[in-house]
């Protein structure tokens, strides 16, 4: 089955080759990182998590969003999602794979990764995160693989697959909740110490995931002329907008709590992110861009006409995707460390090796997603 994911025209082959080269470059720098230590990244004593964990956090959201396809299709028998669900599952597989790689890249001692299993610590959220993510990728892969296999052969879906689908629903909510708990339970990090961290995560996930999927399906359509049901696209875009609206709403709640209560610790990070603090304002343009793009995206897509125009829909999805990526990726994670627990502002600058490794991981993710998407399309075309 998998070999069908590699069959395509020359453009597709060049695309895969390009991704492989980017991945190879990433691997080279990862080897260097293994050799020299995480010092080659922009992380420091004060900002001890950086771009890797930012991407990780964002991608968990993308992965979790598959549930927005699974619920309507399996729970509410929304048949229009018939052909789309599997793409959501593949996206989840690719996203979690990238999550895992980002975690591996971020680890100081990756060769000890198995310690998490050898010394299981139920009190640690990270232990649970590792478990739920592994479980999630396994479930989505197994479900996707088996449904496609049965689509291909006509043979009945094995009986044990259906229950897995239903397990995957709470599980998807679980992965993002647990990931939110990584942050939300830490004393002394005020940006993160908020009860709506998990809801915020989910809301932004349900915006960014469908946005990503819409963009991918659009690219698929343009390059392979494989189309899914237009109704599915329209439903997907509605899910995305609702997610984004709730996301923006939650975000403004944070502003209210911080600034109305006027507690300095709560305010400072938001100040830093949106206005700069103590003369440091490196993230300000990014964060403002994110806010502006997000709001434009939502307003645009509130109009049905805009949503129904393919180009504009994709533009909106792109705006929302970029907005959530900046917000949940960089701003959330790096912002959480500013000011430091000692009240100092240390800024973070990504380094070239760090960027290369991250791009490499994205390339591996895109490679996987491309191959799985292509496999699905090729198989569906051959039936």
């Amino acid at each position: 089955m998998i070999e069908k994911g590699f069959k395509g025209n020359n453009f597709y082959k060049i695309w895969l080759l390009g991704l492989a080269l980017v991945a190879a470059n990433g691997i080279y720098f990862y080897m260097r990182q293994l050799d020299e230590g995480l010092g080659i990244t922009g992380m420091s004593r004060d900002i001890s998590w950086g771009f890797y964990i930012s991407n990780f956090t964002f991608l968990v959201g993308v992965a979790a969003s598959a549930v927005m396809l699974v619920i309507p299709y399996y729970l509410h028998h929304y048949k229009k999602f018939d052909k789309v669900v599997i793409f959501g599952e593949w996206l989840a597989v690719g996203a979690v794979l990238m999550c895992g790689l980002f975690i591996m890249a971020d680890m100081g001692q990756p060769q000890r990764a198995f310690n998490i299993l050898l010394h299981p610590t139920p009190g640690s959220v990270l232990f649970w995160d590792m478990n739920v993510l592994t479980g999630y990728v396994a479930i989505n892969f197994v479900v996707g693989w088996n449904t496609l296999k049965s689509e291909q052969s006509g043979l009945k879906l094995p009986g044990w697959v259906k229950p897995l689908v239903f397990i995957s629903i709470p599980w998807a909510v679980g992965i993002h909740t647990v990931t939110a708990f990584l942050y939300a339970g830490l004393p002394g990090r005020h940006l993160w110490l908020t009860a709506i961290m998990a809801p915020r995560f989910l809301a932004s996930a349900f915006a960014s995931g469908p946005a990503f999927l819409l963009i991918l399906l659009h690219v698929v359509k343009k390059t392979t002329r494989y189309e899914v049901e237009p109704d599915a696209i329209s439903t997907l875009s509605k899910i995305m907008i609702y997610g984004m609206i709730v996301n923006i709403f939650f975000y403004s709640m944070e502003f209210f709590t911080a600034f109305y209560s006027n507690i300095p610790d709560h305010k400072e990070t938001l100040q830093y992110l949106f206005f700069g603090l103590d003369g440091h304002d490196k993230l300000v343009p990014w964060v403002r861009t994110s806010a502006v793009l997000g709001i434009i995206g939502v307003i645009m897509l509130l109009f049905k006409k805009v949503r129904q125009t393919e180009g504009l829909l994709i533009l909106g999805a792109l705006l929302i995707f970029i907005s959530t990526y900046i917000d949940k990726g960089m701003a959330l994670v790096i912002g959480g460390f500013i000011p430091s627990t000692l009240g100092e502002v240390t800024e973070y600058t990504i380094t070239y090796p760090e960027l290369s490794i991250s791009l490499g991981i994205w390339a591996i993710g895109f490679f996987t997603i491309s191959v799985f998407f292509k496999m699905t399309i090729n198989i569906r075309r051959s039936i």
């Binding site: 230590g37 420091s44 004593r45 004060d46 001890s48 971020d106 001692q109 010394h119 959480g336």
Partner: protein
């Protein structure tokens, strides 16, 4: 007390051999072997170590305690703020006690350098988050320990520590050590480290190196659970503050003001 290996070794050999023969008895054989082979008994005592820093005695410009500690523990100096490793160091008061109004409260000024180190909290958040128990709170003496053999370098503890007490080996530690102390190991790249209250020597009744090295007697180390200990007496008779008490971590380092 179990006199172990020599006596039982032959027995174990046989057992494992038989288990090997049975093929599938693997887990059982592992159990028989893994536990108890090298066991030795040790006594337990209810101790909670803590430290009192007398800010009034601490001399400005003096870094004897930090030098002694860093030398003894092979703490590298990478000469870079990004990669720096610190077990004990000085920090302006306003960084340690951010919620004070320095214009009105007069015990010390905002920029007065204060000593800081791991608080060995009673309720440490770093320990809670560690996925491998590479950092944990030792029951015997309340020291928040680091197991450098086990740490995977995820730096969750650094995010969780509200005091900035932890450092990560971003660079090869041995490259930053001017003079090695052969009696204490260095660390390896990619693990987190921090003050260990000199657990390697305090068992024999000695004071930590920082305490030993302080000529002013500004540092007092002792058992917080013992009402008769020197540190308890100091705390009883002097006003003291703790860092970020509101977070509920209950630090074991007290500042006498």
């Amino acid at each position: 007390m179990k006199l172990n290996n020599e006596v039982n070794r032959k027995e174990f050999l046989k057992l494992s051999g038989v288990a090997a023969l049975l093929g599938f008895g693997g887990p059982l054989a592992f159990k028989i072997y893994a536990s108890g082979e090298f066991d030795a008994a040790e006594s337990n005592s209810k101790v909670r170590y803590g430290m009192a820093v007398d800010t009034r005695k601490c001399k400005e410009g003096c870094t004897d305690c930090a030098s002694a500690c860093h030398l003894k523990h092979n703490v590298p100096d990478h000469k870079s703020k990004k990669n720096e490793i610190k077990w004990i160091w000085k920090e302006p008061a306003k960084h340690l006690f951010q919620d004070r109004d320095y214009n009105i409260e007069a015990e010390f000024s905002a920029d007065m350098p204060f000593l800081t180190l791991c608080n060995h909290c009673k309720n440490p958040s770093c320990v809670r988050v560690c996925p491998t128990q590479a950092t944990w709170k030792r029951k015997d003496d309340g020291i928040v320990m680091m197991d450098y053999h086990r740490c995977i370098g995820c730096r969750f503890c650094m995010a969780a520590c509200p005091y900035g007490s932890r450092s990560f080996n971003y660079a090869e530690p041995r490259k930053g050590i001017a003079k090695l102390n052969p009696d204490f190991p260095t660390r390896t790249r990619g693990v987190v480290e921090k003050c260990n209250f000199c657990e390697e020597i305090i068992g024999t009744g000695k004071n930590p190196y920082c305490v030993q090295s302080c000529k002013e007697g500004a540092l007092t180390f002792g058992n917080l659970n013992d009402p008769d200990s020197e540190i308890r007496k100091l705390l009883k008779n002097n006003p003291s503050i703790k860092r970020k008490a509101g977070l509920g971590t209950e630090p074991s380092v007290f500042y006498l003001v």
